[in-house]
Symmetry: C2
Subunit: 225 residues, 2 copies
């Protein structure tokens, strides 16, 4: 009888659509999954509540790591390049956005994973939809994988199953993986509403993806879409 | 008349001997210097006080960044590899030590520097004395330089003037740079004492370096050394 090899992964989990798709992907690929979320002063704590609820339902270990440092950095960061380059994107982001934030999230996740002997990190960064964010690019993630592995002398592998997918393809992926209904429990709305408003840029982007995928979003919206 | 080109650097500054030597080095190399220190739950706040005082005396901008996240990570981290591999070193470290901590310090420093359009980061990591710490190695720093530059789309250069020096050579370097007396204001003692105890592992290592360099430490010690 073949013995299935244990493979452990830590999923960076926000409770949103993308990281839930990563979670579904990881559940298929690895034998042991843990989740890590970051409480960093995001606009809506509802996101973390959703993450917590989903983790509990799936009976997965879930670490919420508190990061209070960003607020000391963000004011300065926003006076420089970001405002000009990515105005339309930062407009919808909380004022805790700092450049290279994903590098810091992944570094913390790696430090946590190291302590639990977990070599695989899974993150929903995607260079298709978010090309304005240089820390979401594949080459950045590859370079970070190397620096984290060298810096902790531990063979980390950063998995980015959504790297080259658009929103519609992400919808199709989670369906294919058999976790489509999970999307009804995720959070996306910038206005922090549940049922979701359906009108903010985040809701619109999400709904566009479902439409292009030919699927109906299982999430509840305020008005019929 | 030749116009001197402005070159900006951010020095990661703990208020200790090594980072003070880096500061001296940076003062010679760059035209504009700022300092960043991390208040991360280190054993003795006296270190930060020294950093603050020296920054003020040299009339340098000084940012103290607060990091509360390490305490949530360190307990786990210490259950894994570190204890076995580096027992003698972690014994003297605060319980906020996490693997790859320098990666996180440098990432925060880079995010701060980005906001101020500062491309040069200077840090006192050293692979000679601290070979047990993989995040102090030259190849780790090179990989991190790449991931930070890609992740923020900004050409960071991480300078490590102490990388290949031993403690005695560090003493000689700061003397050569003309900042030897600055060492009298730095902090090293693990027991957080001023005058320094002269007996703890940190004081002993420091004094050994001075002895080997043939110099008298300008720092005040409790008892005559």
């Amino acid at each position: 009888m073949a013995i299935k090899k244990v493979s452990k992964a830590l999923v960076l989990y926000s409770g949103g659509q993308d990281s839930s798709t990563c979670l579904a992907w990881a559940l298929k690929k690895f034998t042991e999954i843990e989740l890590i979320s970051f409480d960093y002063g995001q606009k809506h704590k509802i996101e973390l509540k959703c993450a917590k609820k989903i983790a509990k339902e799936l009976n997965l270990k879930h670490k919420i790591l508190h990061i209070d440092t960003f607020k000391e950095l963000s004011a300065n960061a926003l006076t420089h390049k970001i405002e000009i380059k990515e105005q339309s994107k930062t407009a919808g982001l909380p004022n805790t956005f700092v450049p290279g934030r994903n590098l810091i999230f992944l570094s913390y996740a790696a430090a946590y994973a190291y302590g639990k002997n977990i070599p695989n990190l899974v993150t929903g960064v995607c260079q298709t939809d978010y090309s304005g964010y240089p820390d979401c690019r594949e080459k950045t993630i590859k370079a970070l994988e190397k620096s984290l592995s060298l810096g902790m002398d531990f063979p980390f592998k950063i998995h980015t199953p959504l790297m080259r997918l658009n929103k519609a393809e992400t919808v199709k992926l989670i369906k294919k993986l058999g976790f489509f209904s999970l999307l009804g429990k995720t959070h996306t709305c910038y206005n922090g509403l549940r049922p979701a408003c359906g009108k903010c840029p985040a809701c619109k982007l999400r709904l566009k993806g479902f439409k292009e995928a030919g699927e109906k979003d299982p999430l509840e919206y305020e008005t019929s879409i």
